[in-house]
Amino acid sequence: PSIRPSLPLRLVSTTPLAPGEQRPLASPDPPENPVDFEFSGGSSEMSDTDEHHFESKADSGASKTYPQQAGAIRKGGHIVIKARPCKVVEVSTSKTGKHGHAKCHFVAIDIFNGKKLEDIVPSSHNCDVPHVDRQDYQLIDITDDGYVSLLTESGNTKDDLKLPTDDVLLGQIKTGFADGKDLILSVMSAMGEEQICAVKEIGGG
């Protein structure tokens, strides 16, 4: 007996064609026989084949993970191990006995503190995949107690981030700022945690 993963997607099957009927490919213009597929997002539209919806999680600060089958997670993807958001650096498969089922062995790096973590999961089981976001902000100020003041897209300021601990990065930010350069900081966020991960200079001339 195998396990079916629950994908929070809803795909409705096409209505069968009458013989001789032709359906054109969905084009940018409104199609004659609209193909009935949707990612039903924030709207609360229910249809007769009500299965799983997924909602826009943009505003809910809480659960920022999504279940995905272990076998589908590849090197370079993300995974939650021991409640930490990580980036997968190695995946290998083995079996529980020759005639057992496959399992995946993940080696991953915590995206915030760089620690190496490992996990072994049956390939058909679901793992949690963290939602990792990257946003760019313009640097406005660096406070004396080591916080940065950033300009958001909406024009407000974001003041709750500390300077990064990575030496090279820190140095570039400090010197760049002191030299009066226009700096853009990339902030990586996942599972409620945030960190500055890159600095760019608004380019030349």
Binding site: P1, L9, L25, S27, V35, K98, Q172, A198
Partner: protein, 814 residues
């Protein structure tokens, strides 16, 4: 003969000798004895070989060979530890000997003697029994990861194929023997159903049996028309009725057993992923071999109801009797569905299903044409198009599956039905992508992992379909691509920080162009070019103008490889866009709004050249892709490149300079081609009284600070330096000559001066005169003239080769 009687003592009797080796005796004589057998076999025909021993023994050489091989097999499976390799060494030699003898027997059409066949039969039985025992013993060990490595799998396959040859030599006994073994184990499994016994041992035995049986019944051969093995076609002279033919009964026995996997209860109980893999592998080869196209089997004359001709005919047609062939194909589709949907996470199994089983059905017109009409096939395509179960397959598999399913369209005879099939298959995929891209709240949901995953799956599927482009399906697939073009641009914008998605978009476009380029008409080309231009512009706007100062250490290394992947895809994209197929249309067409090909190139190069650092060019694949593009562009559009702005042009020539010293000979060759293109263009322009590359200069460090010199003089110096003073590969001499010739013509004065300087520096008078002569011959031998036509170029190539041969002796020393 003499040799044989001399070494006979080393290898006889085999079991005694083997025992003594195990007890510490030396194995070298034994191995040498085996070598002798192999050598003798290579020199004689098989019957002669067999008869050799008969002059000094009661039995033939083949009997001895058989006994030796048994011993070797037993040693390998029973007693060998890692250090003792004599068993497997001996086995390799002995199997090769069999290979030689049986190969000859086939070619001579002289069947083996009766006792030879008996010896082969006995040997095969021992082989199978030994391996079965080993399989059962190892059933509870953890499977070696090494098993999936290509090297060990292909070595295993080689060995099994040699065993199979032995089996076929005595097929009338070995095939029934195999069937017996299968029946025993099938019975064991169904009895165990009622008792809670662990079937693992039996499963492992069945696994091995399926592998060896598949090798016996079929040959391997990717993409070739698989024929039923000749030994089997000719080997059953006594069979009259179909139902008595051992190959037939064995085949149906296995296939009927396999059908049980469709029952969920039984499947769960003993169709382990590993067993399924073996079954699928067996079926793929069986279907490709025994479902013989009707027109082929009809050609085989059936002469009477007896004899080998009758058996041959029988074997080539039995599979289609009583609709059985159709039922098998239906079963194959159903089984594939089961493998893909209920064996979650079993990647090897699912890959085999898609790339071996389904592919083997779809690749052959006669089976494909039948399969596409089946209900089961329709269920599969429907599940793919609109179901969700297949979304859990890995991305690469979805791509593969899309390609396989799309390929089937070419086998649908009615053109309209074929088009509709593809629309039904890929329409929903394209539609889904378009729907998502047009969501008003796209920005807020786009970065959720599930949305990213979905988008990537859709892109993989589009890629798969693009790869299946064929003349009959080209227009529909272009339609598919056209449908998603705007959406791709939207996604490119939204996912600008998500390199995985960007990469996949680029790869789709590369594959799309690759498949479509040779078929497009003027209008389609124009549409495609406009799209590519927009694509490049958007990509460019995200990547230029922001100089990355620093990244945290965890991001640093991955950013490099991300840039690398992106870039490779981009390079391939540009190369495809600039392919001669597409270009031909654009330069001729008068279509409104058609983008100037030059513009596309400029934008492309504008993006690529700043991103390519010398650092990145150290990656071999990337540098090869880059230089392929460069040399291509310079060959086809030297005038466009010549008019790039100074910075861009400077970067290109800088990279050529770097490339000329590359380790990879292929890269150097391309750079030489590029230099040739530039120089030839310059020469021709000047000849016509125009400026050519005159406005472009190269800067280099001179003794008094920065020097500026023309392109041609710079490369002339560089090339001479490479040829005379650095390691130069002779196989590149032709390309070097092609580059050097136009440079010489452009810079005659400089050339004379350089040669003069070189000669002056030379102290040794003999060397000096030889050098002077060589240079003289370089430019005057063979009536070299001052043109760049083909005959003249050929002359110069000859001259250069002679020149290099002459001077290599004394120039390299410096």
């Amino acid at each position: 003969m003499h040799i044989l009687s001399a070494v006979i003592l080393w290898i006889e009797p085999p079991n005694v000798i083997a025992e003594s080796i195990r007890n510490g005796g030396s194995e070298s004589e034994f191995i040498d004895g085996c070598h002798v057998l192999l050598s003798v076999a290579s020199l004689t025909s098989s019957s002669l070989f067999d008869n050799l021993l008969k002059s000094i023994r009661q039995y033939g050489t083949i009997n001895l060979l058989s006994a030796l091989t048994s011993e070797a097999v037993k040693s390998v499976l029973d007693n060998q530890n890692e250090e003792e390799t004599w068993g497997s060494d001996a086995l390799d030699i002995l199997l090769e000997t069999w290979n030689v003898i049986l190969g000859e027997a086939c070619a001579d059409k002289s069947p083996m003697s009766a006792d030879g066949a008996l010896a082969a039969s006995n040997l095969f039985k021992i082989i199978v029994e030994s391996h079965l025992k080993a399989a059962a013993d190892s059933a509870f060990e953890d499977s070696d990861d090494a098993e999936y490595f290509h090297v060990s799998v292909s070595k295993r396959d080689e060995q099994l194929a040699l065993y199979a040859l032995i089996a076929r030599a005595a097929a009338d006994t070995t095939i029934p023997f195999l069937e017996q073994l299968f029946s025993e184990r099938f019975a064991r499994l169904s009895q165990q159903r009622d008792v809670e016994n662990d079937p693992t041992r039996t499963l492992e035995e069945l696994y091995w049996l399926l592998l060896i049986t598949s090798h016996v019944l079929t040959d391997s051969g990717e993409g070739e028309t698989l024929l039923i093995p000749e030994a089997l076609q000719a080997g059953f002279t006594n069979v009259v009725e179909v139902a008595q033919h051992p190959v037939v009964t064995l085949s149906w026995s296995i296939i009927n057993f396999s059908r049980q996997c469709l029952d969920p209860g039984i499947r769960g109980r003993y169709f382990s992923p590993r067993l399924m893999e073996a079954v699928i592998w067996f079926l793929a080869r069986w279907v490709a071999t025994y479902l013989v196209p009707l027109d082929v089997s009809r050609e085989i004359d059936s002469v009477g109801r007896h004899g080998s001709q009758h058996s041959r005919k029988l074997l080539n047609s039995f599979a289609w009797d009583n609709n059985q062939g159709e039922l098998v194909l239906d079963f194959v589709v159903l089984m594939s569905m089961v493998a893909l949907t209920t064996y979650q996470g079993e990647i090897e199994l699912q890959t085999l299903t898609c790339q071996k089983l389904l592919a083997s059905v779809v690749r052959r017109k006669h089976t494909c044409a039948y399969v596409v009409q089946l209900d089961s096939w329709r269920d599969l395509t429907r599940a793919f198009a609109s179901g969700r179960s297949l979304f859990s397959l890995s991305g690469r598999l979805q791509r593969s599956l899309a390609e396989t399913l799309a390929c089937a369209a070419s086998c649908i005879k009615d053109p309209e039905a074929s088009v509709q099939y593809l629309r039904d298959l890929m329409g929903p995929v394209a539609g889904c992508l378009v729907e998502n891209a047009s969501r008003s709240d796209l920005k807020s949901v786009a970065h959720q992992p599930d949305v990213i995953y979905m988008v990537c799956c859709l892109l993989e599927r589009l890629r798969g379909a693009a790869r299946a482009t064929q003349p009959r399906t080209q227009k529909v697939l272009f339609e598919m691509g056209h449908t998603v073009m705007n959406s791709l641009l939207t996604l490119l914008e939204v996912y600008k920080n998500q390199s995985e998605v960007i990469y996949m978009i680029l790869k789709f476009v590369v594959d799309f162009i690759d498949g479509q380029a040779v078929f497009l008409d003027g209008k389609e080309t124009s549409v495609l070019m406009s799209f590519c231009l927009r694509l490049l512009q958007i990509y460019s706007s995200h990547n230029i103008g922001k100089v990355m100062l620093s990244l945290s250490s965890t991001l640093r290394s991955e950013s490099q490889s991300e840039k690398y992947k992106d870039l490779r895809a981009l390079l391939r994209l540009l190369t495809n866009i600039c392919s001669k197929d597409l270009v031909g249309f654009l330069s001729d067409s008068n279509i409104e709004g058609s983008p100037d090909i030059a513009e596309v190139i400029y934008v492309g190069l504008d993006i690529v050249t700043p991103l390519i650092s010398l650092d990145l060019l150290k990656y071999p694949k990337l540098s090869r892709d880059y230089f392929v593009l460069m040399s291509h562009l310079l060959e086809v559009y030297p005038e466009k490149v010549a008019h790039l702005n100074r910075d861009a042009f400077g970067r290109i020539t800088g990279s050529l300079e770097f490339g000329l010293r590359n380790q990879d000979g292929d890269v150097v060759e391309r750079c030489l081609t590029a230099v040739n293109a530039l120089a030839s263009y310059h020469f021709k322009e000047r000849l016509g009284g125009r400026g050519g590359l005159g406005s472009q200069v190269m800067e280099s460090e001179g003794s008094n600070g920065k020097l500026q010199e023309s392109i041609s003089s710079h490369f002339l110096r560089l090339l001479l330096q490479l040829l005379l003073f650095e390691d130069f590969r002779m196989e590149l001499a032709g390309s070097a000559a092609d580059a050097l010739l136009p440079l010489l013509f452009c810079e005659q004065e400089l050339y004379q001066r350089l040669v003069h300087e070189l000669l002056e520096k030379e102290q040794n008078p003999t060397v000096k005169s030889r050098l002077a002569l060589a240079f003289h011959n370089l430019t005057s031998s063979n009536n070299l003239s001052s043109t760049l036509d083909r005959p003249n170029r050929q002359k110069f190539r000859k001259n250069l080769r002679v020149f290099l041969g002459e001077v290599s002796g004394f120039m390299q020393i410096k």
